[in-house]
């Protein structure tokens, strides 16, 4: 059974111009999928649809067979628990006025998840490679990579089955990026991962499946290795050709 299904979803900020045009996607448990495209290709819009932050103008999104309905509070509480997100910019994704404990525990409080929150937050922080003694510190006391780990801890603390990552490593320096990619890779062993990026190299390292978006349309999708080895669509070929290479 599919975890999340998107059927011919379209979305536009105005009636004349669609940002996403008839996108279909099937996400099964255990998948690791990369959504790839240039800026403006509609990948972040698709992600916002998957998060239930916006509703499709047309088409359907179903989660475990049930229609995604932002007006259904009980459904959305379970959906939020199961689907979490990590954002691109670790400097704007953490509230500068909250301490690490309050930040990471927010899903536990808001979704009224029972249990020892302090212990759950500590476990989440340790699992992303942070010390347990950072609970009472503010975000500005951490580096970009550490902040992104805190953001990942917040995303996994409620035990989601699907983790969405929106350009989660593109704001980081190279060495930090590698470590966060390794962390996401290890998380993808235990949960489904949808990784939005314009970086084909990172997607190749992280994702088994790849979906290529161009101007709001899915132009190519399939196993990452075969698509990168043998791209069929001209846009995919152009994307691959545009990857910078070290001079010989």
């Amino acid at each position: 059974m599919s975890l999340l299904t998107v059927e011919k979803a379209s979305f536009g900020y105005s009636k004349t111009r669609l940002v996403l045009d008839g996108a279909s996607l099937d996400i099964s448990p255990g998948d690791s999928i990369g959504l790839v495209g240039e800026s403006g290709s509609g990948k972040t819009t698709l992600l916002r649809l998957l998060l239930g932050l916006i509703r499709p103008s047309s088409g359907n999104i179903t989660f475990k067979g049930a229609q995604l309905d932002p007006a259904n509070a009980a459904f959305m509480r379970e959906y939020r628990r199961q689907v979490q997100v990590v954002f691109q910019d670790p400097y704007s994704s953490l509230d500068p006025r909250q301490k690490v404990f309050a930040i990471v525990a927010e899903p536990l409080r808001s979704l009224r998840i029972a249990g020892d929150h302090r212990q759950m937050v500590t476990d989440a922080l340790v699992s992303v490679g942070l010390d347990a003694n950072v609970l009472d510190r503010f975000p500005h006391e951490f580096s970009g990579g550490q902040r992104q780990r805190i953001a990942i801890a917040r995303a996994i603390v409620s035990g989601p089955s699907l983790l969405l990552a929106d350009e989660a490593v593109s704001a980081l320096d190279l060495s930090t990026r590698i470590r966060i990619v390794e962390l996401l890779k290890s998380l993808s062993q235990t949960m489904t991962l949808v990784f939005v990026s314009h970086d084909l190299g990172v997607v190749a390292a992280l994702c088994e499946r790849i979906v290529i978006l161009e101007k709001g349309r899915i132009v190519e999708a399939g196993p990452t290795a075969s698509i990168l080895a043998n791209p069929q669509h001209p846009y995919t070929q152009r994307l691959l050709a545009s990857v910078p290479r070290m001079p010989a």
Partner: protein, 284 residues
């Protein structure tokens, strides 16, 4: 270490912050203590003729007497209480109305936001004192309460516009989206994320509004629209000293100094408090 490094060294900045904070605390505390003291004790009965007319400062009357022979220090002390009452009352009313309206506008649909923003801009286009005068004139008699209400309403438009701008900026941040995807309600987002993040700037604005209210109350009293006699408002003292400013200048200088010291004290206190409650401004 360069000169610039020395200026921006956290320890020096911290010590300057604490000087600012303590100067504000001392000045405001002085006014609060004096204001509270007048509830139980004053050197003389404020309406009694305690000495001769326009006496110069002496051991008996430290700031002299007015043209009716009333003790000036007593009246300035009572003026402190009135200024604090007006400042706190007007800012409380302005903050309650302004923050609520500003948050509503920030969260509202584009149409409602535009309508509220336009209404606020029109209100702000009128000088604070003019709006206050209109509200006081609309009530039958000028009282301390009507002055507070008038100033509160006049200040609320400024607070609302600032709140709207600050809240809209916060709502664009990824941590708000993260809060939404974490299941936090809009009310929860307001109290856990928006208000704490806009509070430092708002608190400085409230201090400025407090100063504005104290000055506006003095202006209203000067025009005869503020706290009526026997309330010894600083504005009324200034108005009464107008005719004797060349023969007994202390009558104009003393309430002026009292007013300026309160406004400066409040501003320093707000500045210092903002630095101490903002975790990102604390020394690392």
């Amino acid at each position: 270490m360069t000169a610039i490094d020395q200026i921006t060294t956290p320890a020096r900045r911290r010590s300057w912050q604490s000087v600012t904070l303590w100067a504000g605390i001392i000045l405001v505390s002085l006014h609060v203590i004096v204001g509270l003291l007048t509830l139980v004790w004053t050197p003389y009965d404020p309406s009694a003729m305690a000495g001769g007319r326009l006496e110069a400062p002496s051991w008996l009357h430290w700031v002299g007497t007015d043209r009716l022979g009333r003790d000036f220090l007593t009246q300035i002390m009572i003026g402190s209480r009135i200024a604090l009452t007006v400042g706190i009352g007007a800012v409380a009313i302005g903050a309650a109305i302004g923050v609520t309206l500003g948050l509503l506008a920030a969260f509202a649909s584009k149409f409602l936001d535009d309508a509220l923003a336009a209404a606020l801009d029109i209100l702000i286009a009128f000088p604070t004192l003019l709006i206050a005068m209109l509200v006081v004139a609309a009530s039958e008699t000028a009282t301390l309460g009507s002055a507070i209400l008038a100033l509160g309403i006049a200040l609320s438009a400024i607070v609302a516009r600032l709140t709207r701008i600050l809240a809209k900026r916060v709502l664009l941040m990824d941590y708000i989206t993260a809060a939404r995807t974490s299941g936090t309600s809009w009310l929860g987002i307001v109290f856990s994320h928006v208000l704490p993040n806009i509070w430092p700037t708002l608190s400085v604005s409230f201090a400025l509004q407090f100063g504005l209210a104290a000055i506006a109350e003095a202006s209203l009293s000067y025009l005869g629209l503020g706290a009526p006699p026997p309330n010894a408002s600083w504005g009324r003292l200034l108005q009464e000293a107008q005719g004797t400013v060349y023969t007994a200048p202390i009558g104009a200088i003393a309430p002026g100094i009292a007013l300026v010291s309160l406004v400066i004290g409040i501003n320093l206190l707000a500045d210092g408090l903002r630095d101490s409650i903002d975790p990102t401004r604390r020394a690392r």
